[in-house]
């Protein structure tokens, strides 16, 4: 009797659960079956009328039926939730091609980007990055670099003077001297910084620009070390295929001195508008530190030797980023800066 009743409830419940299509109707079904006055509850209440010896059996039947119905309900609920989630995801589809919401991030100046590349290369080779004063003593800018008084290189046409002893440094080379005075070899340094020369502003000149000085001092440093170091630098900066050419030159503070050209990275050396048909681009001046300079800075040239070089930072930035007018570097037009 109870068994039949239970089976009937179970059949009906499962049928209605299968028909239910939302959470509310599922809830109604639950109330109708398991609620206080629910059909199932009624059957449970009828337990008291069951003979005691049958109760375990009937009890088991009730539990089994209940479990079956509840399982079905859970299954139905999960299905519904899954369906609802799928609908939501479908509803929330967006147009991914609409513009991005960007954080406003600033741009680094091309000079700094170029400088950081150079610094990275030399730091990797064990060089310290050091600095020196921009307003400098005549002694460090000239005399200690083997440029004596009345040397044409000291001509006022190129140098901004504050007074006869103090000037705006025309090169980063004085940092060489300051480092040699301050440190014992081995020294490996680069010294980037601002320098000043009395050039009117135009597409290729600025009264203020930047150089990167480099110097290595130790026992047994050779001219071939200079070549090897700078060649490695160029390969890292402009690519492994870049060729270098060293030409004899003259700087008062190095001997032998050289200028270094690199094969045009635009045409590979065939000659183009970029390299003015030469196939080569002049990139830096270098040489073995003059023994006189070593001695003046307190380093014994009979024990130590070294090389030094100077690169124009703007020159590298202009070449690397194909900037055709130096004035752009100091105008700070945001449309220019945003390209870096």
């Amino acid at each position: 009797m109870v068994k039949e009743k239970l089976e009937e409830i179970r059949q009906k419940a499962i049928a209605s659960i299968e028909e239910a299509n939302d959470a509310d109707s599922l809830n109604d079904i639950r109330v109708k079956i398991f609620g206080k006055k629910g059909e199932f509850t009624q059957v449970q209440k009828g337990m008291k009328d069951v003979a005691p010896e049958d109760r375990p059996k009937v009890g088991a039947m009730i539990n089994e039926a209940r479990a079956a119905i509840e399982e079905k309900m859970t299954e139905a609920r999960e299905k519904m939730q899954q369906k609802a989630l799928e609908e939501r995801l479908k509803r929330e589809t967006i147009d991914v091609t609409l513009p991005a919401k960007k954080n406003k991030i600033g741009h680094r100046h091309p000079n700094t980007i170029a400088l950081e590349e150079v610094e990275k290369i030399f730091i990797g080779m064990g060089f310290d990055v050091v600095e020196g004063p921009e307003i400098e003593k005549d002694y460090y800018n000239f005399e200690a670099l083997n440029i004596p008084a009345n040397h044409p290189a000291k001509d006022e046409q190129d140098t901004f003077y504050i007074n006869k002893d103090i000037l705006l440094r025309t090169q980063t080379s004085p940092v060489q001297v300051r480092q040699m005075e301050a440190k014992k070899p081995p020294i490996r340094m680069i010294a980037p910084g601002r320098v000043f020369r009395a050039d009117e502003v135009d597409a290729t000149h600025s009264p203020s620009f930047h150089q990167i000085e480099g110097m290595v001092i130790d026992k047994g440093i050779t001219f071939s070390d200079l070549k090897g170091t700078l060649e490695m630098f160029v390969h890292k900066l402009f690519g492994e295929d870049t060729r270098v050419k060293f030409r004899p030159h003259h700087f008062p503070f190095t001997e032998p001195s050289a200028e270094m050209d690199v094969s045009c990275f635009k045409c590979g050396g065939k000659g183009c508008r970029f390299c003015k048909g030469e196939g080569w681009i002049e990139i830096l001046g270098c040489g073995m530190v003059h023994p006189k300079v070593l001695r003046m800075s307190g380093i014994d040239p009979d024990v130590y030797s070294g090389f030094a070089f100077g690169v124009g930072l703007e020159r590298i930035a202009l070449l690397k980023y194909e900037i055709d007018d130096m004035r752009l570097l100091y105008e700070n037009d945001i449309r220019f800066l945003q390209q870096f």
Partner: protein, 806 residues
Amino acid sequence: MRTSLKWLQSMVPGLTNDPQKFCDAMTLSGSKVEFYTVLNKDLDKIVIGQVKKIEKHPDADHLVICQVDVGDKTIQIVTGAQNVFEGAKVPVVLDGGKVAGGHDGSKTPGGITIKKGKLRGVESDGMMCSIEELGSSREVFPDAPVNGLYIMDDDAPVGADAVAYLGLDDVVIEYEITSNRVDCFSIIGLAREAAATFGLPFNPPEVKEVGDDDDVNKYISVDVENHDLCKRYTARVVKNIHLAPSPKWMQERLRSQGIRPINNIVDITNYVMEEYGQPMHAYDLDTIAGHKIVVKNATDGEKFVTLDGKEHELDKDMLMICDGEKPVGLAGIMGGENSMITDDVKTMLFESACFDGTNIRLSAKRLGTRTEASGIFEKGLDPNNAIDAMNRACDLVEELGAGEVVGGVIDIYPEKVNPWRVKFEPDHINAYLGTDIPKEQQLKYLQKIELGYDEKTEELIIPTFRQDLLSFADISEEVARFYGYANVATTLPKTSATAGGKSYKMEIEDIARDVAEYCGFSQAYCYSFESKKVFDKLLLPADAPERAAIEIANPLGEDFSIMRTLSLNGILTSLSTNFNRRNENVSLYELGNIYIAKSLPLTELPDERMQFTLGSYGDGEDFYSMKGVVEEFLDRVGMVDKVTYDPSNKRPYLHPGRCADVVYDGEVIGYLGELHPTVAKNYDIKDRVYVAVIDMPYIVKFANFEKKYTGIANFPASTRDLSLVMPKKTLAGDVEKIFYAEGGDYLESVKLFDVYEGAQVADGYKSISYRLTFRANDRSLSDTDVNTAMDAILNRLESMDVTLRS
């Protein structure tokens, strides 16, 4: 410096004709070639023709028909040239030949091909040429007419190559000679280099000793008063001068150097100047009073007229050439009008001297008269070259028949410069260069450039024209450049390892850059010098300490005349540029020095202080967004906790109600604020501008990168929200100080969540709401704990007229 390739070839037999090969090799051995010009590059099939017959053109008044003998035949040429005449010898370009350009002097790259054709119906088989069409100019062919055919001399062989005859079959090479190589400012010097570069013989001109039985001392005496400025003075006399054009070969060589031939005497001085690199001067001896030359300093205020007709005021540091009565020349710069050679010259005094380079340079500069001679002298010449040049010039005088050289030389040379010695250290050179060049090979290079060698002492003997060779390093360069820089191996230093890296200061600057960029600021580069007007633009009062700027003695103009003492102008100028180019929402930062003098005028180097300067205008920018950037940076350098903002320092360039000094532990480390509207106007920016400046040395001093883990709270926090009413002028920062002072150990954080001014609070008051969070590490706080703290806070606030909002 420039040289004709042919002239070099005359001293270096076998020297290549291939200009590219020549220039590449010279550049690599140290004589850098800037460029070269092949004079006959665009000339072809041009011969010497002679006009035999001229007839009128039947249909054109301005044209004539010429029958021209071109050697193997006679051709008919129609021309419009006015100066054509029967018998004239002219350059003729034949059918299919090329000229370099038009007769107006314009050049056509690749040349212009001339073809047979008809001119107004009459056959014309070629073209007769002007000097310009041959790619040259009246500057070096002064005998060419302004507008017309170039008429060649009577000796020109009809039918021969006209280009070669005029000496235009040459290459002109332009070099960039470095200042240490004075010897290379001469044909001889570069020929010596070329011979060494190509391993060819070097044959400098052979100079014959000339001079008659007469004695120069009968004509002139020389007294050098200032030997420091005149190291050597040589003089010779030429009598019975016969002025005439110089011969064709000399004219050609002068032309190839870009020098206009004038007459034999002038041409000889110019020729020797090019060949020897020694400036010479010629005086009309009959104008020299007392037959006496005195070399001495001028007196202050003395006036002197140079041969270009210009009057100069002299000073006591200038060296003068004087005669018995008066000055006759500015030594080494320019001769005087009163003693110059004229067409009537009978007897001439030749001067070849060695003056002090620095003195000549400074004098020429003060006089504003830099001549070719002074440009050479200022490099500092070899006194031994002076006599060689003198003898060469006299030899040429005789050779050209320009006069009779009087016997004897006056030579005032009290301190003779002799060749000096430098130890030859081939092993050391190899060790220095990183090479393995045999000793004999090294010596060969050095002997090629005329260094002597004393085998006994193993010393090199340096000729005096190589003033740059003084030590071991100099010799090593000579070896290296003839061995070839390219042949030196590439190695890396085999030295003790060094770690490498940036300084602490630079690392902090990198942090500043990162923060600025993450916050939307792009990097600007600004000038270190600016105008004094900047101080007015920034409304700085007359006594502002910022006005004590270092001045540049020789600035490029007022705009670049002082070293900046504050950094704002750079960033404001850049913002202004952007604003006026209609760039919207611009935020820029700069890292650059200001220069603070310890005392003025400057006696020691100033304090160079790196400034981190930020500036921005546009949507969404306000005081607090700028403050946010500053705090972000101070947070990254571990300083934000101790930073306070003090609005009491009113900087004239900032909005008085929207500015603050950034204070760390009692030190002002920077400032920020809205730009004063008047300053914005001065910079032509019609928007609110926000700026911040951080004085980086303070950051380097105070930055703290120590980090320690303090645990994560395990116990719940208690929070209290409170809305406070206070007078408008009360600073939130001061209220927050009370929170922290009175809040006890458990106060974890204070967060402002609302600021209100308006109808809900009394006039002159504002309301600020905070959430205070309390927490203990070891237990859950009781209400009593928190209330005690809150009572203490509220008590203190009450005394500041800050009360709970009801």
